[in-house]
Symmetry: C2
Subunit: 231 residues, 2 copies
DNA sequence: GTCTATAGAGAGATAGAC
DNA sequence: GTCTATCTCTCTATAGAC
């Protein structure tokens, strides 16, 4: 048994769709508090007691909105991931050559992590906790993977793509690993709070480093479209 | 409270130094089984019950060798880290220009993760679970950080170093994040076991990708010393 | 919708026999 | 050194009142 509690497979809502505004607010407040708690403490270490306290209600009241702890976690993760999915779709939709659009996508990723660093912490845990075989995480990430795949298909003719300079798995682990570590891990590795990855300047520097890695892994030196298309 | 059980600060051994060969074997077996369990399941989800079963003894017997669960975990992590420390020291001691030695160090890191992938999983969890402020992980990694710092000092005169092309924090998160994700996370993200980062060929490819990232982040195109020193 | 109160399970720690 | 047996704590989940 890898996971203490298996991912919830039951209906997502304990109540029918129609919710009162009050319930809606409480529900949102629970999600927000839970996101912070899960990011800070981890799934197992997070006590529903503390989440309730942060919201200003009692533990048992949470159950009115969510069937169990796992359902809250799933909702938090889904919210974070779908948020990025939307941003990524926007970014990939811009006009421009392949490289410009890839850069837009990678940039959107870095920016999104900067705005919602909880995602970095949750991802760290997700990959650490996911059972070796289970397709759990895979299912959650699928919409995003589909998006990337669609993008890949529709740009198959691009000269850059045809060069196939690097294995996508390597590129993915480089981009995702680097950013997630930068946001979630480095603050805990460099001495006493002297480092804040969310500081706008710091994040901007990181963003350009990641773009540099991306371009260079792709075998491209310049970041101008013209230079690329002139080959 | 971030950690369910704080890192153990008491004496490392429940018994004086002199151990019987039998006890020594049992102790080693516990450490080995615990390493696998912690890597596979995580700290909280690992039951001492299961570790004992894997060793072939009873749960209570573990307590003879280790004061508590945390002490086992600390011992496992220390073993993994000190193993790398030794390899890194070797790698950095070789003759050659700065770039060659940096490459040796990075290569040693990738190779070591390939041999002891548990370290990747534990690191993933460590950074995810470490309390925001606590210097716990920092203390564990200190010997390695010192080693890198010594290396940095003694190569201060190198032309490559003087160019200071990139912030060390960015470089570190790139190298560590990329490798850790590659080894520990990607197998759980690509469909059903079609990907094995520990396969010698796959790992070798990854190794060269990481070296490529390193060189390019450093602003160096060629990997020959001659090319670098000719500037 | 939110509360109080309680049931129930899991897992780590401890005491003491062999 | 390793065992059996037990204790205790924590946290989730549930029942039912307001």
């Amino acid at each position: 048994m890898a996971h203490p509690t298996p991912r919830s497979t039951r209906a997502a809502r304990p109540r029918p769709a129609g919710r009162t505004p009050r319930a809606e607010r409480t529900r949102a407040a629970i999600l927000h508090a839970a996101e912070l708690a899960f990011a800070q403490e981890g799934y197992a270490a997070t006590r529903l007691e503390d989440v309730a306290e942060a919201v200003g209600i009692r533990r048992a009241s949470i159950v009115y909105h969510f069937r169990d702890k796992r359902e809250i976690y799933d909702a938090v993760l889904a919210d974070l991931l779908s948020g990025f999915e939307a941003r990524l779709a926007e970014a990939l939709a811009i006009e421009g050559c392949l490289l410009v659009r890839i850069e837009a996508g990678v940039g959107a990723w870095v920016d999104y992590l900067g705005q919602r660093p909880s995602l970095a912490r949750l991802l760290l845990r997700e990959v650490a906790d996911a059972p070796s075989a289970g397709p759990s995480l895979l299912a959650e990430v699928k919409p995003i993977a589909d998006l990337v795949k669609r993008f890949h298909d529709e740009t198959r003719d691009d000269p850059l793509a045809r060069r196939k300079p690097v294995d996508p798995v390597h590129l993915a682990s480089a981009v995702v690993g680097t950013t997630v570590f930068f946001v979630a891990a480095m603050p805990r590795l460099v001495p006493s709070g002297a480092f804040d990855p969310l500081d706008p300047d710091t994040l901007a520097r990181h963003r350009s480093e990641v773009l540099r890695i991306t371009r260079r892994l792709l075998g491209v030196e310049s970041h101008s479209c013209a230079a690329e298309e002139a080959r």
